[in-house]
Symmetry: C2
Subunit: 242 residues, 2 copies
Amino acid sequence: MAEQVETLRRTPLSRDRVLRAAVALADEAGIESLSMRKLAQDLGVVPMALYKHVANKDELLDGMIDVVVGEIDPPVSDADWKRVVRRRILSAREALLRHPWAPIAIETRNQATPAILGYLNSMVGILRDRGGFSTDLAHHVMHAMGSRMLGFSQELFDDARRAGRSGPADPEPPAGFPAEAAAAFPHLAAIAGAASHDDASVVGPGCDDQFEFEFALDLLLDGIERLRQQGWTSHVGTQPPA
Amino acid sequence: MAEQVETLRRTPLSRDRVLRAAVALADEAGIESLSMRKLAQDLGVVPMALYKHVANKDELLDGMIDVVVGEIDPPVSDADWKRVVRRRILSAREALLRHPWAPIAIETRNQATPAILGYLNSMVGILRDRGGFSTDLAHHVMHAMGSRMLGFSQELFDDARRAGRSGPADPEPPAGFPAEAAAAFPHLAAIAGAASHDDASVVGPGCDDQFEFEFALDLLLDGIERLRQQGWTSHVGTQPPA
DNA sequence: CAAGGTAGGTGTACGGCGTACACCTGTCAA
DNA sequence: TTGACAGGTGTACGCCGTACACCTACCTTG
């Protein structure tokens, strides 16, 4: 039996197994407590063993990002550009919600991984081929969509981000807005309590991140569609027309 | 003379001096090489001395962020909401361009600092008071603007971001797009070469980040203005109207 | 089947990090 | 004069990433 455990333990390491274990560890313990040593321990192996499969910790992170990017659904092929882009982005968002550390990891890397480049590239392809966007407009659109292309907006300081840093779902309730802060930042307090009720006196249940994401996404998509229909080009002016 | 140096060295530390030195160090060496030990060395002091002025490294980073936020101009008071918001955001952008490590630091912190909350709060105030936005719409707008409110979009993997990580201006040229990558990611290559020329065969000088930032900003602002004029509310539908 | 190259796990060690904790010292109030 | 206290010091601990030498089990080739 001891030797059975031994056998299991000795299931040969592989880059893939290392990456999967790293993703699992980050998912449950948060990215900041992912260390080569802990990862090795999870795999029943000595830390240096990992270096036979990944060059260093940075490359490990790149690999983890690629695992997540690999979970994004391929584009559907039976709809107009806007629906295709929208669905793909929402799929990316789902992948990133499953791995709340990923936005931070992606932002922190200093080089786009090939998987991310491939994803972005196919997104441009959709704009060009299905939407008939000029390279010019497609270029600006990619910038305008920014991180939303990768399934997250800059949801600064929200629960998901915090989870990515310190582990999975935090038991403490969202709780609207601390009273002391409400006094100092009344406008923020009003907003926090107003999720989708216009009555500021109602202390709402926080806000629906998914709704906010789609709101901004559609705002951009609609604006972009308008530019596209007008045949907008950066030659004619320095700002998008109203 | 040696005692003069000594005197200078012994200029008493203060939270302010510590924060300034930390900002300077991050500006010139990159955020990732900011350590308590190096910072102490720059200040001619032993590492533990810093802990008499900041509780720990996280609080140091919060303080550094507040220094940057403090550089954002106050709102002008003689224009419509859109111009006020636009100018303030561009001022925030300038502050962040002076400190390329700041976006990373801001994204990485898990709590908004009071300075950032104050900044965001005043931004909501502008929307409410000058633009007559409902709390509801103001709420969604804050989400939609996302990190743009703080002067940066998610400019993934660009030079400024890299600078924030590894020090100041990198001497190597932007260089369009590496040839091998161009083959693998043709759409990206086309875009990279097409900055503001629609002719994809022209290999442009990279792209104008400032233009891209303002493009996206105005796209959002225009879309938001349209919603405002229509008296949009989330009660009537789940998406912004086209 | 023997020889030896090679892929992959091991052990040790180094330098750097954040920071706890005990200590010292100069200043100022009582 | 005393003694509290603010603020700089020194030492030490446990963590980190990873360089480097090693060992071992397997596969190829003669």
